[in-house]
């Protein structure tokens, strides 16, 4: 029979990377609005 696969983890999503991405995108947004 079929074996259910339960792997939905985001393996490549590094927490440090997520924070850096958020900071960077916020800075870009702030820069765009100040220009």
């Amino acid at each position: 029979g079929a074996v259910p696969v339960e792997e939905e983890e985001e393996d490549d999503d590094d927490p440090e990377n997520r924070i850096a991405k958020k900071m960077l995108l916020e800075e870009i947004k702030a820069n765009l609005s100040s220009d």
Partner: protein, 91 residues
Amino acid sequence: GSFKAENERLFAEFLECCSRLTEEHPEVIPFLASRHQKASAEFLASAEFRNVLGRCLTRVQSKRSKVYVYINELCTVLKAHTQRRKLALSS
């Protein structure tokens, strides 16, 4: 000696590498490029910048999952060396 040419090559390589990894946010690369443009010529030709660039490039190539960490690091360094704008104030 000046590291200008070498730094330009390393920066272009870093941009190319990152642009493939940040396709979901196409605004990131132009932002990094504008930070680079605004940095002082002295810093862009320095050994310090070469070291930062070399380190970021090596890291992003081995740990792609941290691409934004390295871009953020480079942006911070470039921001710290932004050319001071001369205010042309006439009274």
